[in-house]
Amino acid sequence: MLQRNRKRGSLQVGVIAKSLLACVYIALAGLGYVWNKNQVYRLGDEIKKREASLGSLEKRNAMLAAQLAQLKSPAYLEARNQQYNLGLVPPREGQTVRLWEPTPAWDAQFLARRTAGGTKNVVAQR
């Protein structure tokens, strides 16, 4: 009889423990769901703020691009040059030094000569 009562007592503890676990699980799942939902809304709000910020930055960028274009325009630069008496003018032809650009054929010839004559010779030529 006593043994049977003990068995019944242990059974009740097990049932209670299982029920408690189930309750805790359901409670945690519920909390998790709510937390998750909360996160979704929070992230949504954050995305919205970022979108608004990106939009306003794009608007500002377009406005600044137009301003920059205006400031870089030849007419504006010319006016500022006159306004501040800077006297900036393009260089005249006689004030320009034009450098000769070696052609691929000249390069090949130069390399061949260097191979044949040695580095010392080439340095002397240059």
Binding site: A69, S73, A75, E93
Partner: protein, 570 residues
Amino acid sequence: MSFSSQHRRALIVATVMGLGFSALSFRLVQLQVLDSQELRAEVRKIHGQVVHRQGRRGAILDVNGNLLANSQSVNIVTADPSLTQTQATESARKLAPLLQMDEADLVARLTREGRYVRLKQRVDGETAQQIRALKLKGVFFEDQYARSYPAGTLASHVVGFVDGQHRGVQGIEAVMENYLQGRSGYEIVERDRKGREIRALRNEAIGPRDGYNVTLTVDQVIQHIAEVELDKAMAQFRPHGAMIIVSRPKTGEILAMSSRPTFDLNAPGDAVPDARRNRCISDVAEPGSTFKVAIIAAALNDGKVTLNERFDCENGAFVYAGRALHDSHPYGVLSVDEILYRSSNIGSAKVALRMGSAEVHRYIRAFGFGRRTGIALPGEVAGIAHPLARWTKLSITRIPMGHEIAVTPLQMLMAMNTVANGGRLMRPLVVKSVTDQQGASVLEYGPQLVAQVISPRASILTTSSLRKVVTSEGTAPRAAVKNYDVAGKTGTAQKIENGQYVRRYYSSFIGYLPASDPEISILVTLDDPSMGGYYGGTVAGPVFRAVAEKVAQYLGIAPQIVESEPGNVS
């Protein structure tokens, strides 16, 4: 208490509860299943909203990526009069200086019937911010794109402008509309009690696509040089109109295209329609002596004449088909070379007579006269080149001097480019590429050969003659550019009014440099100069020189004759 009494009570409680739950279940099914569609629609109507998002229109850039047109977001200030009526006077007093509007007008708007009124469009971000800071009840803001042209009047006829609906109506804005126009997107959103969007509940979102950017072959520095010189010419010679086109003969690229009168792209409505017309492609006129280049080049190409062959220029008066043809100066016997650089009408008529009408007509068509060049700009006209059947007996002597034919300035420049470019006629290019917002290429436009009109040899021979035009022996010594080898031709055509030639002129000069290997070609035309002369060499020649000097320097075109300036080299 008997068992049956307990049982009965339990039954009643169970029945009541069962009925209650059944009623609740039924209501649940009714809301969730039976009336679900209607209720969802109602909720969407109250909390949901379809928000349309407009794609930004693409930008127009010059060849170096400088901005010529872009779209900026501006604000529309609106109001709900049902909310503003009570404080209309106070609100109007605060808003008037910021919106630069009349206070009384604002009061009238703020007290109007209805729930929506627009107070002002195109309000910039800074002003909108100031108005927001006032926290006025019933005043709201809407976003709107506005087209902005940072360079104002620069290249106005090429760039064009948009209408109130942001659609291109002229120039590149109109021609490239399909590429420039962005695509709208939409979002289905839900809002909370305060009207704020609940981002997490956004059902559907198709983002807008911004329009593509269009890059032109036009260089804003060269365009500026052309426009400054054009303005000087307008002040000096007081013509009715004026045009300058700068191009690359080898590729057909248009580096600058400008005409006067002009208009500000930011306020196209303020200009008269005449100022908005791109005269370079829409105006036709008899070209005058510049047309001789085509005839002499054709005759040299066919081997009908040589440069040294001599023609009697009849001392300035040549009677053909019963009508006299005159030269501006009487000439005796001239070589073909001299006929071109001295611009003899009689000489060129005799060269054309040697060729015959059919050949002359064939070359006129081959050089592209009488048909559109195909430039990517709206409003181009074909000009007038009569079919051979409509030629009179006199036509063969009048067409070589640029009469009985009407051309656009662009057609004439492309014909001259043909001579400069070894006989190859190119299609004029004004759009270089189309790119997306990330800079990836969508379309590229390259040089397009239309036809090989004359041989390279004929081109060299014609150029050798055109070089002399800018010498003291030619008609335009004032078009000579210091240190550069220039070839060109003058034109002075009498204008026709009511079917009669009048003493008003269409003066032009078309030239290219360096003559041996042309990098640029420039057309200058003044329509009816009223001061300082009217000959092409006198009025258009100096303008050509001023533009050519600056453009050659800007592009770094190596001079053919180098003069050192001691002490100035650094």
